[in-house]
């Protein structure tokens, strides 16, 4: 550990012990973004991704072939993990199974090609080999495609952060299903 880090850590420890402090958002905060816009835009990106898959496919939090594989509805979550922050920035996130079309590596390849066409960029370091891909838009929306161990494809999306005061209904959840446009 460098002496600089050690010194900073010591000072931070002192700050924690003596003063306390609060954490702010980790993801970038788009000051003009609202909660409605963050959810709608994320869902639009997912719907447009679905268009890259064969006709008849849909995004569904419930997969008919996976009886215990239900995903959550998604929703708004804090852009930070610390509970010491109250009313800090939030973001929208949600995940879906790809159902009735587009499963497997071919589906994953198709959506990633679509994202590349949009000009989205990704960290090519794939944490889970060729079963995972993530791309981010210039305005910091993120989409992820992932294959399960059995080859089922799922997509997820998340928005940049927005200020807490730009939120309207932060208990709102995702739609559960997205059909092809």
């Amino acid at each position: 550990m460098s002496s600089y880090r050690r010194a900073v850590a010591g000072l931070f420890m002192v700050a924690v012990l003596v003063l306390g402090c609060s954490y702010t958002a980790g993801k970038s905060v788009n000051e003009s973004l609202t909660s409605d816009e963050s959810m709608n835009r994320t869902l639009e990106h997912l719907e447009e991704s679905l268009a890259a898959l064969p006709a008849g496919g849909r995004l569904d939090r419930v997969h008919p072939e996976l009886p215990v594989g239900d995903l959550g509805y998604g929703g708004f979550a804090p852009c930070y993990d610390s509970n010491t922050v109250v009313e800090g920035p939030e973001y929208f996130g949600v995940g879906f199974w790809v159902v009735d079309g587009g499963d497997g590596p071919a589906g994953l390849k198709s959506v990633v090609e679509r994202w590349t066409e949009w000009g989205w960029t990704g960290d090519d370091r794939a944490p889970d080999g060729d079963r995972y891909a993530q791309r981010t838009s210039p305005d910091e929306y993120t989409l992820t495609a992932q294959l399960s161990t059995s080859g089922y494809l799922s997509l997820s999306g998340s928005s940049p952060c927005f200020p807490f005061e730009n939120g309207t209904d932060l208990d709102a959840q995702g739609p559960g299903v997205i059909e092809q446009p």
Binding site: R5, K27, C79, Y80, S148, Q173
Partner: protein
């Protein structure tokens, strides 16, 4: 067999409707009286504590359950009468209308429904023959309409009678059968009589509970309304009893808040506040002190009520099954997403400083993202418990103390034992994930002679997992060879998260303190678990932003401490892989 016309005429459905209304009225009055009695009993129990009071309260609760059954059964009887009145009336009226119009037209209607035509006697043979033929035809038509109505009346009669008999029989069963307590086995009776105790050990409790009848379980729950917090009970039962307890806790918390606010209705409206400037009298100063106390009390009561309301909000959300694994009067609780008793992979997320019921919403979102990420990896079969079953440090300065971790560790240990004991089928792959101070709680639960019944441990953004704990060899997992701890204990830290530097930073403070001859005592929470010398398996987190001040990159950002559970982050994926067993 059809109903006779004379019987049909004797029916008085309106009187049945009257009986139905009368029974319903008496039932309502009974219900109200019992409710009043219950309220007065509750008031009495509020001022009476002790074993005898507990036994009496249990009896009171059992009586209330029986009363509810009686009220329900009588309500069914009332409804049966009302339904009979409607159905019998619907048959009787058209049937008698047929009879009466036939008789008025000169036809004879026998009691069994046979219709006899009048005799035509005009004196004209041909006319009489034609008329008689017509009368006979009309008689057959009338009879053809009447007989089915009489048969339908008989069927309605039997149906209504059967319904009434069943309803009366149910009531008779409730009021004459032996009380549920009579069916209790000797072990349960001994507990209720104060001569024995429920097993403390989660494994023993799970075995004991498995052998109980539903009535015995309910009886024990009436005896101990907090029974759902006992580790070892099945998640479904825990949630059922804890949700009843939650309503009581919510009611009490709101009643406390109302009482505090009622003490000073003027202050609630911003009126008559004590002066804060000018020349203050002793009375002004005393009022100011009372105002300060009152504001503190009110803030605490508001926080408590909001916390229990938040639990209800989270339980009512759509999506994966939500089970209330714990809830208590100290503001602690735990909610499972998915049923941990049947899931093949079970994670327990332990949040850090300032966590509690009021901030449960954010922690539940983090848990749901983790569940979704794990399900996307292994097709499901996962459950994630958000465990705020300890009193977390309220503020960051409090997080320097180990007392919260020391107090929380045995509770976490017992909870994990309970998950194991209640699990059905093959053992699940269990993981505990501690964020920030939550990792310190976990560390205390598996060091200094303690051991956790889990397969994997994750420390995320950890300030250290226990004073003096400098490596995985000093941590213990049940039934795991310590030499393989490095494969079971994982850690992650964003490179610019200053909280994770604390473990090593403490050394710096010690060095500095020693220079000035200052005591350091048990400062800090031990070594950084992501330090290579600690020996944990380290996985990636996004490095996080580094704050740039006047053109100088200072190398860290306080905000980065807060990115580990963000959807689609490397750290969330890493944790999901560990939970799902795909790493």
């Amino acid at each position: 067999m059809a109903v006779l016309v004379s019987q049909l005429r004797a029916w008085t459905p309106r009187s049945l409707a009257g009986v139905a209304a009368e029974v319903a009225g008496i039932n309502d009055e009974f219900d109200e009286q019992m409710s009043q009695m219950a309220r007065r009993t509750d008031d009495a129990f509020a001022a009476w504590q002790g074993d005898a009071a507990a036994a009496a309260m249990a009896r009171s609760l059992a009586d209330r359950i029986a009363e509810n059954h009686i009220v329900t059964a009588v309500a069914v009887i009332s409804e049966s009468f009302a339904k009979a009145a409607g159905e019998l009336g619907a048959i009787r009226e058209p049937a008698l209308a047929v009879v009466d119009s036939a008789v008025a037209a000169g036809f004879t209607v026998h009691d069994v429904g046979a219709v006899i035509a009048p005799i035509s006697s005009t004196g004209e043979i041909v006319v009489d023959m034609l008329l008689q033929s017509s009368f006979d035809e009309q008689a057959r038509t009338i009879e053809a309409r009447l007989l089915p109505l009489l048969a339908a009346a008989a069927e309605a009669d039997r149906t209504c009678a059967r319904t009434l008999q069943n309803a009366l029989g149910d009531l008779a069963d409730i009021t004459t059968s032996a009380p549920a307590a009579a069916s209790y086995g000797p072990e349960v009776r001994a507990i209720l009589d104060g001569e024995a105790f429920l097993p403390d050990n989660p494994v023993a409790l799970a075995e004991f509970w498995d052998g109980l009848s539903p009535a015995e379980k309910d009886g024990l729950a009436a005896w101990d309304p907090t029974i759902g917090n006992r580790d070892g009970l099945p998640a479904i039962d825990k949630s059922r009893y804890n949700q009843e307890l939650l309503e009581t806790l919510r009611d009490n918390a709101h009643a406390d808040l109302d009482a505090i606010e009622a003490r000073h209705p003027d202050w609630m409206n911003g009126e008559n506040l004590p002066p804060t400037d000018g020349i203050l009298t002793d009375e002004d100063s005393a009022n100011q002190r009372e105002l300060d106390r009152w504001l503190d009390e009110r803030a605490d009561a508001e926080k408590s009520a909001f916390g229990y309301d938040e639990v209800r909000t989270q339980l009512d959300k759509d999506g994966p099954q939500r089970l209330l694994m714990n809830i208590d009067a100290e503001g602690r609780g735990a909610i499972a997403l998915g049923n941990p008793d049947i899931a093949g992979h079970v994670a327990t997320y332990v949040p850090g400083t300032s966590s509690g019921l009021p901030s449960l919403g954010g922690d539940m979102e983090r848990a749901e993202f983790l569940l979704t990420a794990a399900n996307r990896l292994n097709d499901g079969d996962n459950a994630v418990v958000t465990w705020v079953g300890y009193n977390a440090p309220p503020e960051l300065p409090d997080a320097a103390s180990a007392v919260y971790a020391e107090a929380g560790a045995p509770r976490l240990d017992s909870f994990q034992d309970g998950l194991r004991a209640a699990h059905e089928g093959a053992p699940s792959l269990n993981t505990v994930i501690g964020h920030s101070y939550g990792s310190t709680v976990i560390g205390h639960a598996m060091s200094d002679g303690n051991s956790l019944a889990v397969d994997n441990v994750v420390f995320a953004g950890s300030p250290g997992v226990g004073h003096g704990v400098n490596g995985v060899g000093e941590l213990s997992l049940d039934n795991v060879d310590p030499t393989s701890n490095n494969e079971r204990i994982f850690a992650t830290a964003a490179s610019s998260d200053p909280v994770t530097w604390i473990g090593d930073g403490v050394d710096g403070i010690r060095v500095a303190a020693s220079v000035f001859g200052l005591p350091t005592g048990e400062l800090g929470h031990g070594a950084d678990p992501t330090n290579p010398s600690f020996g944990a398996t380290v996985f990636d987190s996004h490095p996080g932003p580094s704050v740039n001040i006047v053109g100088v990159d200072i190398g860290f950002s306080p905000s980065t401490h807060s990115n580990y559970f963000v959807e689609e982050s490397q750290s969330l994926l890493g944790m999901a892989q560990i939970v799902a067993g795909t790493r």
